[in-house]
């Protein structure tokens, strides 16, 4: 797939054949008419960018580390420019999108459309594209967070045999640390010290967590400081135990 710079250069080249603004606008209008619309179901309030002159809708979906955008506007010239922007950004990685700029719009003589005072929603749309890229990038960089989520899911399968609520929702887990190398550290407690089955529960936790894909080593520390209280239970746990 072409890089952002290559696609921008192609667009500048394409527009260089137009000698007057009329041809340029007719081309933009054609682009606007031809552009695949955003799915009607994605034309939601959440995806709406409101300008004084026109409205723009933008939705974003991530696949294999690349972002795919769909967009629409009620103004067709705006839509034509959107289709240029999507040509550039659709299918690119978040890092490339964040590194790119929109100078090519100025090079093809449409700079006025990107002025913040135009109120056509385009400037906000570009900001939204970058925000999606930034959010997605932040998400991928914190990949170990996903491991942590998987660890939590595993902990939810572990029960103290006396209690019909899993150890996580009981609030018995005080700390989870999962690093990129698959090293997991868990600090936990039990509802009461001197619990006869303490060793049993700790062993179950260790086993469940080491079964999580990506986990190489698990350490479990059992503590009774601070003391566990019912305040640590989730709402669901309290409900389950008839405490609400």
């Amino acid at each position: 797939m072409k890089t952002i710079q290559e696609i921008q250069a192609d667009i500048v080249e394409e527009f260089s054949v137009f000698s007057d603004w009329m041809d340029k606008y007719e081309y933009l209008i054609e682009l606007g008419k031809g552009m695949p619309l955003i799915d009607e179901k994605d034309k939601t309030e959440a995806n709406l960018i409101r300008g004084c002159q026109s409205r723009v809708w933008l939705s974003c979906r991530a696949e294999d580390g690349r972002l795919h955008f769909a967009a629409d506007s009620d103004a067709i010239i705006t839509k034509g420019i959107i289709s240029l922007l999507l040509k550039v950004y659709d299918g690119q990685t978040p890092a490339d999108i964040l590194a790119a700029d929109e100078a090519f719009i100025g090079e093809i003589g449409l700079k006025e459309n990107l002025s913040p005072t135009r109120a056509n929603g385009l400037v906000s749309m570009i900001a939204a594209i970058k925000a999606y890229a930034a959010a997605f990038q932040a998400g991928t960089e914190e990949k170990p967070r996903d491991l942590e989520a998987d660890v939590v899911a595993a902990l939810r399968m572990v029960y103290d045999p006396e209690i019909p609520v899993n150890v996580y929702d009981m609030g018995l887990i005080y700390d989870i640390q999962a690093d990129a190398d698959g090293q997991v550290f868990i600090r936990m407690t039990l509802t009461a010290p001197n619990c006869p089955i303490a060793d049993d529960v700790v062993a179950q936790v260790r086993e469940a967590v080491s079964d999580v894909p990506g986990v190489k080593d698990v350490q479990v520390e059992l503590v009774f400081e601070p003391e566990w209280t019912t305040d640590r239970m989730s709402e669901e746990a309290k409900l389950e135990l008839g405490m609400l």
Partner: protein, 408 residues
């Protein structure tokens, strides 16, 4: 008289084409006499008004008060004290919404506005109602865009004294229809309810006589009557201006000040806190002189009507055209036409017209509730001034047809 030559802006070329300025309802161009006075005062009489004994201050004060006298005469206000300078229509309305409502609007009361209001004659009332625990009542327009005097009567009767003020536009900036304000005021007064008239558009298209209209307040902006931006007027009846509390504090609005008690300056200075935009205020004199001359010129007035009729007829021939504001009496329509064309989005039309040197307005034109009433979020608006020509109208129609064809 030759109107075009006194407005130097009209000589401009836009993208190599002669400017056709059809956005006069937003801001009118300024005549040379206004530009000259503005320049002269900035150079020769830049001294703070009402404050010093020196010559520059005295000249600036004289020019400022001459501007006020020009306004007084133009709207036939009874006295100088009835003419308060503000920064514009919006500021004038906010002044009344704040001061009148603080004094006269209570919990459970209502302010009545029409459905055709500019946001500037709607949002200040919403804010005031919020502060006072009051609510807004809306007088609807019909499909033609007209207000009903009888409906106002019914609403006032049904409200049983809870409507404390009626705020209505003289001419809507979207519909271009001259509302029957004199009749609306008469009905409201039968119920003892005061009326504020938003005159932002009315002031330039109608000969306004506030005493004949008998309205309690009349608000307008300088920049729509050939004066600079940043200046406007609130006309108010003495009774209200006396009874309302001051708006902002400070500057010339005081009589004496002590930490225990401050007394206020007599009208109109009571409402003119802080150093005023005296250069712009002074420019009302040449601006209104120009406005009067243009309004009194029968050839120019006939031309305005001819342009209006030409545009209404020619636009009507474009397929998918819808015009907003078609009064039963066609003479109530000013040369201000808001429209949509099926299959061509307003912002696109305006953008293409701009490339052809034609300035029109597009968007929600600060009247979202009114556009919603007609099922739109956006329109194109062409608004004319006496310096426009029939030839420009012809070019506009041709350009519009071309733009529509490009878009459809």
């Amino acid at each position: 008289m030759e109107a075009r030559s006194i407005f130097p802006a009209l000589d401009r070329q836009i993208y190599g084409k002669p400017l056709i300025y059809f956005d006069n309802a937003a801001t009118a161009q300024r005549p040379q006499a206004v530009l000259d006075l503005q320049q002269r005062l900035c150079v020769e009489a830049c001294g703070n008004i009402h404050r010093a004994i020196h010559r520059l201050s005295a000249e600036a004060t004289d020019a400022y008060e001459a501007g006020r006298e020009a306004v007084r005469r133009f709207i036939n206000a009874p006295a100088r004290e009835n003419v308060v300078f503000t920064s514009g229509t919006t500021a004038s309305i906010n002044l009344v919404a704040t001061c009148f409502c603080e004094r006269f609007l209570g919990a459970g009361d209502r302010i009545l506005v029409s459905e055709a209001e500019h946001h500037s004659n709607l949002v200040p009332w919403q804010l005031a109602c919020g502060r006072q625990g009051a609510s807004l009542e809306v007088l609807p327009v019909d499909e033609a865009g007209e207000l009903s005097v009888e409906e106002l009567d019914r609403r006032l009767a049904a409200a049983e004294g809870r409507i404390k003020l009626v705020a209505v536009t003289h001419i809507s900036n979207v519909l271009g229809i001259v509302n029957p304000v004199r009749e609306l005021v008469a009905v409201a007064h039968r119920y003892g309810v005061p009326v504020l008239v938003d005159g932002a558009q009315g002031i330039i298209h109608e000969t306004v006589d506030v005493q004949a209209l008998d309205c309690d307040f009349y608000a307008f902006s300088g920049h729509k009557v050939y004066a600079p931006t940043g200046i406007g007027v609130l006309y108010g009846k003495t009774r209200w201006l006396d009874e309302m509390p001051p708006f902002m504090g400070g500057g010339e609005m005081i009589d004496t000040v002590s930490f225990e008690k401050t007394t206020y300056a007599p009208l109109p200075l009571k409402y003119e806190a802080g150093t005023q935009n005296f250069v712009a205020a002074a420019c009302f004199a040449p601006a209104l002189e120009t406005a009067r001359a243009l309004m009194d010129d029968p050839v120019l007035q006939e031309n305005l009507l001819a342009m209006r009729d030409f545009l209404l007829a020619e636009l009507g021939r474009i397929e998918g055209m819808r015009i907003y504001g078609c009064p039963r009496d066609p003479q109530r329509k000013i040369p201000l036409i808001s429209f949509t064309v099926a299959g061509a989005f307003p912002a696109d039309l305006a953008q293409i017209l701009d490339k052809m040197g034609i300035a029109v307005r597009s968007g929600h034109v600060c009247a979202e509730p009114l556009l919603r009433r007609f099922g739109q979020t956006s329109v194109v608006r062409a608004s004319l001034a006496p310096y426009n020509t029939l030839a420009e109208c012809e070019s506009f129609v041709a350009a519009l047809r071309r733009a529509v064809n490009m878009l459809r």
